[in-house]
Symmetry: D3
Subunit: 259 residues, 6 copies
């Protein structure tokens, strides 16, 4: 088996209406499971790595179905804690023509939102691992999820494991102020920072010169400058930026975010 | 349009695996909406009555889809309050041979569980109504749902509307003690009591003579006696009992509990 | 509830092959119900109005299923007459690449085609209504449907209700000559005329200057002129024209023609 | 290829709700094509015979799809006349538990109901054929369908072809009086009569002794007697009766009536 | 019935994942049957010809289902030999965006790959036929399939039937050397050659001037020249070429290669 | 993770028609993967064991999909060799009423049928294992599969691992004579024998007294006797027998043979 990598975050039941049908028309939902960190694990497993996804799932058949789904795609699920009440859920209606897609979240009080320090044996998780990857979604789920993220980072740091973080600011989950406070503390443990111009501005207040997101103006030099400022501020070894979906910068980890 | 009747309670999104497939096998879920009081309304609407179902639904597309579902079956939805966060959900796996069916509830913190007195304009709801029907599930959902049930009953009583209640004890939602306390208070407003031997014993501590539910022994005379004791204790005008699925007793309302 | 509006016409069972499959390949049909006036009612109901759709449906389960479908989308169905033999049907095969879509109608002798004056209590229908909308399809269905349209218009006029008409010429249902004769008589009751260059030419013989539909030449001034001629001839209060799918002109009613 | 046999009658589009769902719940219909005489042809084709089904189908894609369906099961469709407006349709809802199945017919004015003498080249159809089979449904469809049945029988008789008839009385299509009049005339050309006690009584007024269909009393001797009376009255060579689904009597043709 | 034409080749069970889903996601496969020569027969049958498809199918229900599929589309299947072990199969995953479609063949040892001279009564097959069409796929299936193709061609030639061949080089089935050897021998019997620049180069080593397939350069004059060289070398009466999907050249047979 | 157990055998793609539809009606197939030894592994994984299934799968997407299917159910797939041409397939049509189910196998030349000694690193497979389970199907697949079974047994024996075998005679795969010869040699390594009266008689020629399978006569004492004879002949530690689906005998391993 390949290199051991670890990702940590939330995975949700994704209930999508069939084809382009509206919520009111849906007599059935296509069911799968998705989450940024789980998707990264599935993608790395597909490339042959020992990709471990860490989360907390409800100890019922829905949690087990989710775990089976991850296993199918080769993800190592041995460190998932099966102990909680509910799995976060979201409903998806795919748009058509000028009608946009809609997402309705129902993720409050999920098992992973109620995770607490001590729930995961991080020593065992990181034993032999080379990389730990998380995103800005994980600490945004709940205060305790942020605490567990910090707990994981401290163990990873002590064990000398490379840490990557996709900033991924989610305004529905927390405010810019709280994001800045929590994320800045976590950055002390991060070696590779991944993000785009919105994340840099929303989370860390770093704005690229000659770049106006609202007006759709992008400046490559401005991005280089944002990357450098992030590297300087947080002592990143590497920093990656996405410009309109194209990877720009210094990253070496190719991560897929869709199963 | 026929007689105006009112039912009040919770309706949930019902996600059922296709055919007899297991949760772990399900790549899609059949979606419908169900709840004891909503089913009664749908059944009465089918018989031509102006059946009003009262509840609180989330003010999003899932809530609207639920409302549309009720309307399709002719239920009057004008008194439903669209204002809340989430719709209660349950997952169903149909059993086969010796494998039993499984139900997984995910109903905590639903919009109707967070209903508070004042949310519903009961004066308007009961204007012109002849019957108000609720079940023991409604006050079990949450303390505020119990308060709103009482609020409704007071208005119904004042307006001289006949009130029926299906005791329907749900042990997953509350204890026998709490059920007894809350339900006994509500019975003061009830004209027609509907239940079976388990409800009578679990909620009100009334046990039929010569009847042992665990041992499967049933005694018709015992049931008559239970009905009479209920009538005496709560001053019911009428009381209905179900014995092994067959209506036995004094009831005049034919209620269907399945769409 | 919002403003009361009334539409009148035919709704048909729409049987569509799945995806892009051909009729000969179809082992199942997607079933829904559609019709220009019903779609307008559904759209207005979606905007919160008390949208009443008037038609005649067969007094069997297919008619009831159609009525339930309308209710689901919030349409007020209380004035629909359930009394007839059959529901008009059409089969749809969606095209792909250079293969065009195909529609096969089977609508002769539908319940609404056999509607007769007196079937609908227009006094009740228009009680409190602000708008009556119909299309050129309705009087084209049958001679009696045209008579009932006239009957409705007379009541609407007497009650001072605004009347809108989408000319919507259907060559499969009647000749240009008959359309002109019938529609011209009905226009005396219409306040708002909606149409495109084809309708104006086919039904009323009004052709826009510098406009050649066959050659694909369109002239905005020509459209203005057609609108003015329609207003002059029929004393419309307003007239709307569609140019290549974009509304051009004087209309104030936003009507959607697709569920 | 095996023996040439000919059947003549109506085939309809069969639209069935999925599983046990109700009409009001159906968002799609399973589509197939069925008819007593077509089913017999399909069954005989399955046994290797050159089974020709004769009917009239609409000259559109629905008619062609129906023809393709028959061909798939090996039925010889070369004598089908493709020339008409519509295909008869019926809707089926499969019952469950105490809820019975429902069938809604929409078959008026089908292509085959409008068949007229001369539409079919019976000389060609019967060239080389050994058996002609029809049922009591075919002449019940319309007066002209009865005329064409007689036309076919005369040619078959002249060519010395064995003729079988399943009486199959359908009360929705004609009265007992009309059935008796028409069928009695056709019996002059029939060699093999197939039926049950209801057919014998409803169509020909022949009642078995000691048999009371309503009361569920059946008497084997009574059946023998009915068969003999039919043979005597119509000079059948053979007569078959079905008693509660089991073939009883003299028949030699094994016919399946379900694809 | 129209002109009798004959095609000969392999037809396979086509198992396609639903929509754009991946093989690993597929819980079901859409099943149909396809093959170049069968598709030509189906297309010609659709135009009213007596199109006979000749092949060898397994003598089991899968073979019979394949035969029924062909019949549905009007193909004459009377010359198909039902006698073999297995039907060739292929799995299809439709691509999306930058992800290409994938085809996985499982066609070794199919019934038609094991066909041997004498299996087909070519005298009967070609009786009354006007055209025989095959492709370069048929002789590539197996050595015996190539022998049977030659056997067919000799009979067709003797009977004066026009022969057309679509060269259709399949590198997964044979080498360029073997293709050249076998195909060159068969060309002696061919009147109409159909192909594109790749076939001409891969099978016969004929390259168009100023044409570089790899670089995407195409030259119409070069194609004319290739066609002429093919006509000269093999004494074709006619030769057709396809340039980027558009027919260019001398062909008179319109052949569709997709059902 | 629980005890390590190993099973070895063939897993096939199972293509089942939907519901009760016939092969000729099937426009799609439900796809799953099944095999006696894989099912045992899935069942034991469900009970929490480290259940390793060993086989050889094609090195294409179909093989990978099969591996993902096993992983979903928690089976350890790390010892599966991905290197071969095709996956065995079988088609299933579920019977209804008096129509029996049909199975059509297409399993010749599967990857596992072409397995050869050396393909599997049995030392690694059995490292830490407590049980090795196989069935009489595995050595019946091909001569080399039988050789590899023997190879596995020798390593298991040397490592002191308990071995169980379900005799499972498959007459379509080999003769009684060959089964007896091969299986008798393998029994030298087996500790636990599992079978029924048919297996004992067909494979080893051991018949229970007073038992006549054809006549449906069963005798419990006879079974005890068969078990004892098997134990004596092959020096089994334990022997299990199934009588009409109920486990009878000495077994301690509960094995499920259906996912």
């Amino acid at each position: 088996m390949g290199k051991k990598v670890v990702t940590f975050g939330e995975i949700m039941l994704r209930l999508a209406t069939p084809g382009y049908s509206r919520f009111i028309q849906a007599e059935r939902y296509e069911a799968s499971y998705a989450g940024g960190e789980a998707n990264v694990a599935a993608s790395l497993a597909n490339y042959g790595m020992n990709a471990c996804f860490v989360t907390k799932l409800p100890s019922n058949d829905i949690g087990q179905a989710c775990r089976g789904f991850l296993r199918k795609y080769g993800v190592n699920t041995e460190y998932i804690r099966m102990d909680g009440e509910r799995l976060g859920t979201y409903y998806l209606e795919t748009g058509a023509s000028q009608r946009p897609s809609k997402v309705i979240y129902d993720r409050a009080d999920s098992a992973v939102a109620k995770i607490i320090p001590g729930d995961i044996d991080w020593e065992a998780v990181f034993d032999g691992a080379e990389l730990f990857h998380f995103t800005g979604i994980t600490p945004a789920i709940s205060d305790t999820a942020a605490e567990v993220t910090l707990e994981a980072l401290k163990v990873a740091k002590r064990k000398g494991i490379t840490v990557s973080c996709d900033f991924n600011y989610r305004k529905k989950l927390w405010s810019r102020e709280k994001a800045k406070k929590v994320m800045s503390e976590l950055m002390a443990y991060v070696d590779i920072g991944i993000g785009n111009e919105e994340d840099a501005e929303m989370v860390f207040g770093i704005q690229g010169a000659h770049t106006d997101v609202t007006a759709g103006q992008l400046d490559i030099d401005g991005y280089q400058q944002v990357a450098e400022e992030l590297i300087n501020r947080f002592d990143f070894k590497k920093s990656c930026h996405y410009v309109k979906g194209k990877l720009f910068g210094l990253g070496q980890w190719m991560v897929s975010t869709a199963l």
